[in-house]
Symmetry: C2
Subunit: 159 residues, 2 copies
DNA sequence: ATATTAATGAAAACGATTATCAATAAGGAA
DNA sequence: TTCCTTATTGATAATCGTTTTCATTAATAT
């Protein structure tokens, strides 16, 4: 989609936003812009700070509220890596959506998205998903695979 | 191991506990007993309440502190399912340790451990683990696979 | 341009977890 | 056993991420 990801405020979600009956506001535009420009797994506060640089009137409350509706709309994913704060990432974007596979350092909290083996994993996941939803009567919406351990830096610091 | 899982306070961890220099106390015994007798994914407060029935003098602080050392010792696993409270489960026990695979209802918080396909999954996980730890220099200690969705009860309530 | 009402931000409230600290009790030594 | 040392305890306060409240502001339909 040429031009869809040009610089400046992203607009591709305007229609979808209106379909939901949501208004298009500067805080919401800025939050989506920040999410779109970032490759990281951002926490609510990360996002707040980045938005604050662009639009200093922003409130942390608005960030939380906007993130919640974006999650409900399916525009972003919310992750919980066990460090007490949630992380958010656009569900679609410049890069393809491989947001489900993570390496997490339990020492420093570093998070790496890996994209190796996703084909094989996706196949197995799809099969599992199908069988599990049948067996347990679960309507499966999403999944994650996480590996926990020590990253190189932290492993070295331990010896 | 016959007799290892008899009723009454569990004692199999006494040695390990002493090796770590930890003292064996009534609160700790009771917490481990509760964990051993439960098949569920218990939150700290769940555990507190159950222990409180047996040993009313228990404090919530002690529960948190004990759980932390048990996690560090590797005797229990700590999970974070994204509902703001951590869950704990014995890493070994009467049942084998298939604590890594969950179905989570995002509506009511119900958690189901599934054990289907774990053979295939374990195989893939092992392979992935090996390759990822090489590629990213990660010392992988643990992993989880979670499926999020709606359980039968909650899916029905939505229509 | 105006009216309607969703959206905002500051502040307070909340819930889970952690830190503080004086009192207690486990376990080794005598 | 009894005493001593020190880890452990539980009540309380503090912390931190997130939610709620509510009066003010601003987006959109008219």
């Amino acid at each position: 989609m040429p031009g869809r990801w040009g610089k400046g405020p992203v607009k591709w979600w305007y229609g979808e936003f209106r379909d939901y009956g949501y208004r298009i506001t500067i805080p919401r535009q800025t939050i989506l812009q920040v999410l779109d420009e970032s490759k990281e797994h951002l926490s609510a506060e990360d996002i707040y700070l980045k938005v604050h640089n662009i639009y200093p009137a922003i409130g942390l409350t608005t960030v939380y509220r906007t993130l919640e509706i974006l999650v409900n709309m399916g525009l972003i994913y919310k992750f919980d890596f066990g460090d007490g704060r949630a992380r958010y990432e656009l569900s679609s974007g410049s890069r393809k959506a491989f947001h489900h596979y993570h390496l997490i350092c339990t020492e420093c909290g570093r998070i790496i998205n890996y994209t190796d083996f996703i084909d094989e994993e996706l196949e197995l996941v799809k099969k599992t998903e199908k069988e599990l939803s049948k067996k347990y009567n679960f309507k499966i919406k999403n999944h994650t695979i996480q590996f926990y351990g020590l990253c190189d830096r932290c492993a070295n610091n331990k010896e």
